[in-house]
């Protein structure tokens, strides 16, 4: 896809986003909707300017194509995001320390790092230190589940 079309699609996405929330903001009682509506109108305005500009611009930044990398290397950040969403959920179900140790090894493996000795050493130092600092020294509440 060309960069110009990517710009236009991005602008269209912004308009759709703003319109969805604008419809809701209009229904807010009293003056509650005024400020959100202002932001939504400005987003729509900016998107329209982006679209109009895309037809006249000679800016070199819009030359060439946008390429999507669907290989494992290209998708790695997305996969890590998905794993993190599960992690953020699991810490409150299973417990912080157990989930975090599993998450640490899993994400490190996902990035392509394979030195198990280094990973184990880091985990063996990091998590006891976190326990001492957060649980003993700060007496902080950490996410809890059915395990620690």
């Amino acid at each position: 896809m060309s960069r110009l079309w990517a710009e236009r699609l991005t602008a269209l996405g912004m308009i759709v986003f703003a319109v969805i929330f604008l419809v809701q903001s209009i229904k807010f009682p009293f003056t509650s909707g005024t400020f959100p509506m202002f932001t939504e109108y400005v987003i729509i305005l900016l998107a329209v300017v982006m679209i109009v500009r895309s037809f006249f611009t000679k800016d070199k930044r819009f030359e060439g194509d946008v390429r999507f990398d669907f290989s494992y290397m290209g998708m790695k950040p997305i996969l890590v995001m998905i794993v993190t969403v599960f992690y953020a959920y699991a810490v409150f179900r299973i417990g912080f320390y157990v989930t975090s140790v599993v998450f640490f090894f899993l994400v490190t493996f996902m990035t392509g790092y394979r030195n198990v000795k280094v990973m184990s050493t880091v985990a063996a130092v990091l998590f006891p230190l976190m326990y001492v600092f957060f649980t003993i020294l700060l007496d902080a509440d950490l996410p809890e589940g059915f395990l620690i």
Partner: protein, 517 residues
Amino acid sequence: MEAFNYLGDVVSLANLGAMMIGIVVGLIIGAIPGLGPPMAIALMIPISFTWEPQTALIMMVSTYAAGLYGGSFTAILLRAPGTSASAATAIEGFEMTKRGKAIEAIRMGTFASVMGGLISGLVLLFLAPPLATVSLLFGPAEYFLVAILGLTAIAAVSFGALLRGLAAGMLGLFIATVGVDNMTAYPRFTYGMTGLLSGVGILPTVIGLFAFAQAITLCEGSPHTNISGKSKLSWNIWPKISEIVHCRWSLVRGWVTGLVMGIIPAAGGSVAQWIAYSWEIQRGKPGDQFGRGEIKAVAATEASNNGVTGTSLIPMFVLGIPGGISAAVILGALMIHGLQPGDTLFRKTPEIIYTVMWGFVLANILMGGVAGLMARSLAYCTLVPRGVLAPIIMIFCVVGTFTASGNPYDVAIMVVMGVIGYFAQKYNFSPAGILLGVILGPIAEQGFRNMLVITDGDIVPFLAGRPVSIIIIVMIVGALYFALRPKKWETAEEEYSGAASESFSEKHDEYAEVKDD
């Protein structure tokens, strides 16, 4: 000059010991994303409950100064700001780290922060009562205008993608409207989720947009390389005279911004850093490299956020009006020790208040030494392989966010903001713009609506009769003019546009070295 009578009182073993504890705890807690100065100060209250009031308060103000600076360590080294006041430093500081200049960024940040805190402390000591009256001149109109002044920084931090930067800022302002409306109690965009009723906090936003998004970025590419691309770190942790001379005006601009913004309740370091950063970009010279690791920007942002520390305590000590969360916690501690803020504090217990103020000044000096050594040790994390560092940052993001609020929804918000921040960074939508919107949105909205109520919709004559408002409006117009005008350093950059960016980077380094010499 009554203050000088109490200078000797601060130099006691108990006071110095308390100061050191405050500095070390503040630096460590401040460096961890999520655990900012308010938490560190709150931690000190039960410990110091039975101590002499001045000793306890010296420990707290030391923690405050050090905590705010500690946030810059991780901002510079990992793009994971420990506090929201270090977010602007994260942009340029981390770019310097990527170019193998972490130690240079840290030593300039340390100098700017220490001197900023010191100057701010001296202003607190000698000018507190007259300056406190200035903060009373700020009403809803001025809060609204200060927020608008802060928002002009979006134009500067967009780095050439102005439309996308503005859209990011608007998204931030929109996100700030989520939650219960303070004026009508109507829940906006909460969809029945109780966790969203209190809105989207600044802390999960800053951690998500910067730290978490950075951790995801670290997952790209080879997991065996490190951030800085170096295998050794310099021990040269003290700033060179040539570096200070090179950044002298940036430092002055940062300190002035910090001192002024500190006096305004609710503004603080989170706003001051962006105004200082934007000012710096507008004043850039040919050869400057904003957005790709400019030491002048690190100097200005760090000077501003620590320049705030002393002056932000002025309204609290003199009027009993805390300018921010940290000042509110210190106010609580003050009252726990049986002291009343205001005129009585200065008349009846001058030996306590002036000793605490001297303690704050001395703490900033001591902080320089401790911070330099601690930052040097922390800089080792830039040598850790990216594949190992990324999950560690993510784990700290989760634990930091949860520890700060105890709200699982904040962890979810942080992750969502991290995903937004990652894509915003990748597609030039300025995460800094989103953060600015989230920080300034509530101030702008509430100020504007309060102003409408007070004036019954007749805003212009109201503003025209308020000198402070007029001054801020002139500043906004000036900021917009300079933000939209082509900048000297950008023009110089275009001259190099045919060459690769690396080549420009080399040219800049040569230029900087020549200037240093």
